[in-house]
Subunit: 335 residues, 2 copies
């Protein structure tokens, strides 16, 4: 699966900034991929991109129409069908990260076939995966792992990729969630893979490469999250990471969505992940810590990062506020 | 999903005893569920059950026609369609544990609908699962876990259930693989669940129950197997086990299918699984060790079990040769 840019981002009638996370992610990280945004009446949020109709987007070169909004059930509301049909008729592929598949709607499937364009339901991996083999692969791999879900693993991965590219390093971001896939144009929504194939699908995501090449693999979930640790474990084993970057958000007191659960310390998170990662790469090491400090002031955030860095003898940054150069410096020196 | 007994076991033209593991499993563990066996020309193996045609099976009360064979690709060969159609026309449900779904073959789906019977593709879970919550559930749970895949977790689980029933304990076997599902008449093929829902599906498999009730949950894979540890981890967290029984097979030197991998010790397996299990049940303990000693003599096997028992201060049995009474005794005393 390859998503062809540039994109026209459709955000419908969204009124919640969080619900257009997918559109904002790609607008922030790949502005060169985004021709414009399209809203309908009632929409109160924006990515800040220019407003375009489908016809205008196509005229400006858009190749893919992106449903850039989400909702709690992942439902594809039939009210969006006319917009999808219009985009298909105009010759664009259409991307959706919703749970309900466009390709399961006969009218949409027929229109895509008739116009020789694609419906890309990126939450539903279309590959035939194999079970993992744990055979070592060439090249270097970094996996972002989390103390919890939603602590900034994708943002950290992309920030690392950017810092490494700035230093002319040979690097690829490997996406494992729908936002990341839209940004990378390819990838595997790993939590949507049949569980037998978690590590095998991850192996296929970062294949053999040049000795000096880095794959920056987007982590998912957390080994300490009772709902998602299975995904995190398979992703860790399949990635065979040389380097782990631990992602954390300040002021969490329980695992996301589960108020009755305990939150692990950074030390516990490091120990647990190194232990598990050694099964497929005995030389794995931690390269640094990335902390989302947005809940405190810049000064307080910097002081906390410095304290963590001193305690763990590792570079510690807020990728949003400070970038990932300090971690990349460690990578170039010690990996 | 509920598989209705009794069964007529169809083993086709199988020539390899391992390929009819599903038929043999149910014939061994639930003989009262099995009316008979049906072969076609070329078949050289048997479960030992009486040979019956579909008409004879129905006349004797068979409610479900079971495809009791497997093949490496999980392919549903079209040569079996006529037999499935005959069974459907005779009013039987049909069960398959193959990867290719019967319900994806229009002719079979139509025949099932026309005869108001079911096609049960038990390798494909049909439930709508939720993500795990880790909310503690009432009742007691035992999970069989393995040093490796295919070390006897299902056999041990069923042997434990039998020993507990013999003592009039309130117990249910909870199946997580297709052989187990056929034996139990229900369950979830956990390695076929979308990875986001591994622990959630496991939670639904062993719901709240009476304080003295035991669920014996069939384990899958191994935390030390790089292909399947994600499944094992989600199953462990979702099970919230009070008791673990460690299953092991003698004379393994690497993880199944992966000659380049190391094999864990029993001590390592215990430590790794207790650590992970404590996330959802801090009171988890090991109740005993089950060893497949079939590769050595009975005397040698008993000596090895005794040695393991002495070293670990836990009951250690070969469930096939000795049954699981020693482990059940520990359960009744200490859990």
């Amino acid at each position: 699966m390859q998503i062809v840019g540039p994109y026209l981002l459709f955000i419908g009638d969204a009124t919640d900034a969080l619900s257009i996370k997918m559109a904002r992610g790609v607008a922030d990280f790949r502005p060169e991929l985004c021709i414009g945004e399209m809203q309908v009446e009632g929409c109160t949020v924006t990515t800040g991109l220019p407003q375009l109709t489908i016809a205008e987007g196509v005229a400006k070169g858009a190749k893919t129409f992106v449903l850039g909004f989400a909702n709690s059930g992942g439902v594809l509301d039939p009210k969006w069908h006319p917009y999808i049909l219009e985009a298909l008729a105009a010759g664009m592929d259409v991307v959706s990260g919703l749970h309900e598949k466009m390709s399961d709607v006969p009218e949409l499937a027929q229109a895509a076939a008739a116009n020789k364009v694609k419906l890309l339901d990126i939450r539903h991996p279309d590959g035939e995966f194999k079970t993992g083999t744990a055979v070592p692969r060439k090249g270097k791999r970094l996996l972002t792992i989390g103390t919890d879900c939603s602590v900034g693993k994708m943002y950290t991965s992309l920030s690392l990729e950017k810092a490494m590219k700035d230093q002319n390093m040979d690097v690829d971001f490997r996406a494992t969630g729908q936002c990341g896939i839209l940004i990378a144009g390819q990838g595997v929504a790993i939590d949507c893979v049949i569980s037998d194939f978690i590590s095998g699908a991850t192996e296929s995501l970062s294949p053999d490469n040049n000795e000096q090449h880095w794959d920056i693999i987007e982590g998912q979930g957390s080994l300490s999250h009772p709902a998602f640790a299975g995904v995190s474990m398979g992703l860790l084993h399949g990635s065979q990471p040389d380097a782990l970057v631990i992602c954390h958000a300040l002021n969490r007191h329980h695992m996301r969505g589960l108020p009755h659960t305990a939150f692990p310390s950074l030390q516990e998170t490091i120990a647990l992940n190194l232990q598990a990662a050694k099964l497929t790469n005995p030389n794995v090491k931690v390269a640094g810590i990335a902390v989302n400090t947005s809940s405190v002031s810049v000064e307080e955030g910097r002081a906390i990062c410095q304290q963590i860095s001193d305690e763990l003898s590792l570079p510690c940054v807020d990728p949003v506020r400070d970038g990932c150069d300090a971690i990349v410096e460690r990578l170039t020196q010690e990996f």
